[in-house]
Amino acid sequence: MNAILTLALKSLRNRRGTALLTVLSIACAVLLLLGVERLRHESRESFTNTISGTDLIVGARSSPVHLLLFSVFHVGNATNNISWDSYRAIAQRPEVAWSIPLSLGDSHRGFRVLGTSADFFEHFRFGDRRRLELAAGKALDGPFDTVLGAEVAAQLGYRLGDRIVVAHGSGEVSFSLHEDHPFTVTGILARTGTPVDRTVHVTLAGMDAMHEDNATGPAADPLGAAMVRRGPQRQPGREDSHAHAAERAGGEEHAEDEHAAITAFLVGLKSRPAVLSMQRYVNEYPDEALTAILPGATLPELWEIVGAAEKALFGVSVLVAVVGLTGMLIALLTSLSERRREMAVLRSVGARPAQVFALIVGEATVLTLAGIALGVALLYGGLFLGQPWLEARMGLYIPIALPSGRELTLAALVALAGIIIGLVPGYRLYRHSLADGMTIRI
């Protein structure tokens, strides 16, 4: 067998041009296959880590995925609001350790504005229970303070002390600006790789004041003032506040802990086992139609929807691997006719047909293994070089770790496929060498 391995290596060295191309194509296929697999894994990981440590997300009655989308990912709008009273009632239950009110519906130059409380910076967790960290400044304090996500600050070039104006609605261009109440940038968050990066955080008080003052002007938002009940396409939070404002004859200071309606809130419980009973309690809350979801259960559900592209990507990379291996099959098969002479010579010096077979399969194996080794080396080289870029631009942190079990399985499958592919020309030459014997056919 040693003689055969030596022959296989020398034969490959002789055809090093073709061999190198074959190795390269297999390496690219492996690189893509493992790269996509790792990206897939990490983006899924980062997706499911968008929020952690939160036991329940509560919003107005809607589908769980919808609630998750607008409250955590800031995609789409709430169908309805939650009254401040309901929020207080639930948040003050004995099982609740902490709660974070969320009020959405405004935007600043294309970025969502989130009205919340200081508890957000205290209790919100993402990833592996990481807390939000300030890259500069301080968390929300005064009513017209704002804390920017890393992406917002980076794209719009804001610095501490800048004053920004919030617009009504979520579009890039809005005709309804809350110009009377500029917010001052007091803090900028460190990058998280979650939607927090793309969010402008303000206080609920600031948000209320802004909307109330708008509502006092008769022409500011006549629809909002007139309509207490509203359709889902309107921005409910805002109109509710307008309605409140109208009731209170506008402009008065709120009680210390009294705000307009909110869009959703996050709940952390004192003990996790209470989560199901708490969820049932919220879902059956008598005064308002509410929905409570467990992020850990709904995130995978959402991933099933948005993860379809990832499956397609994986499918494509499998196809590339097939193409790479087919290239090797073609290279091996085209060399067959010239190698039949070589096989006759080998037979004449005593090589068994099985050894002839082993020679070809051995070459395919060497090519495949070299391709896989190169592919893995390229993957780690690429990760090493691309890691900072991916984290900065995509908010995707890819740790340089040892290959996962799944990646090893994929690599092993490629190796197996390469060896099986080698069996095809190997078997053909084996048949030839049995039939031809030592007759040299040209």
Partner: protein, 229 residues
């Protein structure tokens, strides 16, 4: 001994008896299509007869498994083809030493003669006027046909196999080179004590040999049209 190709009833070869004695130089003559190459494949144990027996050093090849026949061929038979004898990706030396990679016996015998396999290979090449360092360094594909045939002869002779089979080794050589090649081959066969079965359609070489056998004379099978030589 009788041989018919698989799937045909018509025998290609039907030979009562053919005997090669140790050290003998036999000239086997036959026109193209007379079954020469088939007979050589039978002698070398690549093909097995449909009936009858082929004894090589007392082993009945027909009774042995394929692997055993391959083993016997590796140990006891050297082969020279008409052309394309050499493995293109091996050096001249590696081509010559190739049989020693497949046969322990020939490796041992080569060492006995030359000290090491390399030394024996170099000695044989030297005896065949191929010891020039420039030639050895060259890729085998850059050698002339005559040089290639001499490398093939050295390979057939390394480890002193009992039987050397040469299948029209001189047909691509011109007359001068042909005689020189046969002389060298004789000398080395004698030195290693190998019997030589030399196949050719060219009767001009016949007088040089101990014995000439006309394949058409000993073959009792009715003549058929075969696609191969």
């Amino acid at each position: 001994m009788r041989f018919a190709w698989h799937g045909t009833t018509q025998a290609l070869l039907e030979i009562e008896a053919l005997r090669v004695t140790p050290g003998e130089r036999m000239f086997l003559r036959g026109p193209s299509g007379s079954g020469k190459s088939t007979l050589l494949s039978l002698l070398a144990g690549v093909l097995t007869p449909s009936a009858g027996e082929i004894l090589l050093l007392g082993h009945d090849l027909a009774m042995l498994s394929g692997a055993q026949r391959d083993r016997i061929r590796a140990d006891h038979v050297g082969f020279i083809f008409q052309m394309f004898n050499l493995i293109p990706y091996l050096s001249v030396m590696e081509n010559v030493m190739l049989p020693c990679g497949f046969s322990e016996r020939r490796r041992v015998r080569a060492r006995e003669r030359g000290g090491t396999v390399e030394a024996e290979a170099r000695r044989l090449l030297g005896a065949l006027d191929m010891a020039d360092a420039g030639l050895l360094a060259r890729s085998v594909t850059q050698l002339s046909v005559g040089q290639q045939q001499r490398v093939a002869a050295a390979r057939a002779l390394i480890g002193a196999p009992e039987l050397v089979i040469a299948d029209e080794p001189t047909s691509s050589l011109d007359a001068d080179r042909r005689n020189a090649f046969v002389d060298l081959l004789f000398r080395e066969c004698r030195a290693s004590g190998s019997a030589l079965v030399f196949v050719s359609h060219d009767p001009g070489l016949a007088p040089l040999f101990d014995r000439m056998v006309e394949l058409t004379t000993i073959n009792q099978a009715p003549e058929t049209q075969m696609p191969m030589g």
